[in-house]
Symmetry: C2
Subunit: 358 residues, 2 copies
């Protein structure tokens, strides 16, 4: 394969192996709300000549995810803070435009998912690329239902959540990339599913389109007591499992409502990310309820299940193909909107997965 | 066995089968701190004639336990609130003074443990009495190291805690009836053990007598940051397991310090019981740390392990007999001091198990 087998027009300039790469630099740590001001756009000419075992990937879909804000904490989280002055780390779906010597697993034109960050194109080791089957579903699904968010939805609910048919599941952030999948897996597992969302439109989507049994718009629920009443109204047998993507009042209300031997899965705490990671927000001390109910809370992180991606895809792939699991993408374009798209996650601008498209 | 085989002098008055029974009535729910004013003392003549399968038990040691304050919440906990106007429920160790027809498992003079409440004597079904072996250890141990507190120390640490040798355990309330046992079981399980206590004297006791590796006097630790520093000082490899009897700042500091895949066992939250059960106290929202560390928190309750008492005693009995597990009793006398003794639990008046002696 000759060098320069690029999709025409995508690489803005090309002089031999030199490519003008667009990229977003994470420039400055946010004190509270992340904003586009924390990022710097640049275009740099880079030599994208693949060495042995490498390919060139041109991005088509870039991911924005809530975890990015966690990595902007000044403190260690699951790893050290994201360094400033570097390209924002992110999963990207794109096409192979050029392959290096000895590469047999990928060919020009293949769709791949790779953790390339917010850059328009880049060199990637073949081992760092996941080849996608673009015949059956959009390759963008590799950023959500058939990617990291789907993986943690699947393993978080089915392993940490230990669901039993007939139980009632509450999902917060239920119209988000993870929550919308969790609820549908919950239905397939025989659960009654209540989703907590941030708008009536999202409430309609998860009940009418995704098959959730009930939805609660948290913006219309003023406090913990009202949220508990809403749970009681929608869960006649009480609530057994809580898949938490948000934290805050919904979590408090679940803890005060939960059935004996309830399971709480902490997958996200998005309500706390903008300011609560440095100096925690205050909330009620409710751990005594864990005694009453002999409840269990477990934190889950998608990267722990990376090695089990195939296991998830074997089940979820057919579910998505056959329409048993539905998804939505909030597609924003183009590349220059990436920081805005990230910020939109924290105001609930997305229904389903927020993706930036080339 | 003829009726009236009582230990002379114990039953204050006796007319045929009529006995003057002393008892403490839980009279009024406390708004905040429980005090003797919440109880009413009475002496009532009762007919203690055992029917078939019953015995008469005379109390010798009465238990006071932190859970009693939980049952004084106005809300349901693991069960409905303790009813007012009734004898305070409690475990009691005493002797059989009279046996009814058909009773073969117990004889007059036997030591038993039974949930008879704060009364000087009572009728008990044989099935509700646990026969004690008073030859090897004091029968009062049936109220702590070889009773309910020992049971939850044993199963809570070894099952919910999933300890691995070489890990570091933090125990709060470490000089209490449960905590002092948890730490010693931890040492037998190969753990490094740090106890958090409320006085320098207790700190000396758990390190010099019980073999804890380190002790922290929380009254000399002003805030979460100082507690985290104290952990760091005493736990060079970080902290893996937290057996929580107290809640509050110690718990916050553990969550902010914990190692990957830490386990938190919620056995008690005594710092919250006096007022935090009705209107919760406020504390920092820290659940995002469960993501970072993929930690697990589990509430445990002694009554879940009642059916496995023999399993615990088979291991703990020899440990206590051989001095591998030591204990202390804060013995207060007599029966009339019961409410004061209960209140003392919340000011840390006890080292080891608080017991009221006849």
């Amino acid at each position: 394969m000759a060098r320069g087998g690029s999709v025409p027009g995508f690489l803005l300039k090309k002089k031999k192996n030199m490519v003008l790469v667009k990229q977003w630099i994470y420039e400055m740590r946010p004190e509270a709300d992340v904003s586009p001001a924390n990022y710097r756009y640049e275009e740099v000419e880079q030599d994208l000549t693949p060495v042995r075992g490498e390919v060139v990937v041109e991005g088509a879909y870039w991911s924005v995810d809530p975890y990015m804000r966690i990595q902007q904490s000044s403190k260690d989280t699951w790893e050290a803070p994201h360094p400033t002055g570097e390209v924002q780390g992110a999963a990207v779906v794109g096409r192979v435009t050029c392959v290096g010597e000895g590469v047999t697993a990928l060919k020009v034109g293949d769709w791949v998912e790779t953790y390339m960050g917010w850059r328009s194109a880049g060199l990637r080791a073949v081992a760092d690329c996941r080849l996608l089957n673009a015949d059956e579903v959009s390759p963008s699904t590799a950023l959500h239902v058939l990617g990291m968010p789907g993986r943690i939805a699947y393993f978080g609910l089915l392993e940490a959540g230990k669901p039993r048919p007939g139980e009632t599941l509450v999902v917060s952030g239920a119209a988000g990339a993870v929550g919308s999948i969790v609820g549908q897996i919950g239905k397939l597992a025989g659960l009654r599913v209540i989703g907590v969302v941030g708008s009536d439109e999202k409430a309609r989507w998860i009940t009418e389109e995704l098959g959730f049994d009930a939805a609660i718009n948290y913006r219309q629920v003023s406090d913990v007591e009202s949220m508990k009443q809403a749970f009681a109204e929608h869960a006649p047998d009480g609530v057994d499992i809580y898949y938490d993507n948000t934290g805050g009042v919904t979590t408090d209300a679940f803890i005060e409502s939960m059935n004996l031997r309830a399971r709480i899965i902490i997958c996200g705490q998005i309500s706390q990310y903008q300011s609560g990671l440095e100096v925690p927000n205050m909330g009620p001390r409710l751990l005594h309820h864990f005694l009453y109910k002999r409840a269990t809370m477990t934190g889950v992180l998608a990267r722990d299940y990376t090695a089990r991606m195939d296991e998830m895809l074997r089940v979820m792939g057919p579910w998505v193909r056959d329409g048993k699991i539905k998804y939505n993408e909030t597609l924003i374009g183009g590349f220059e909107t990436l920081p805005e798209a990230l910020c939109g996650l924290f105001t609930g601008a997305n229904t389903g997965k927020m993706i930036v498209k080339a």
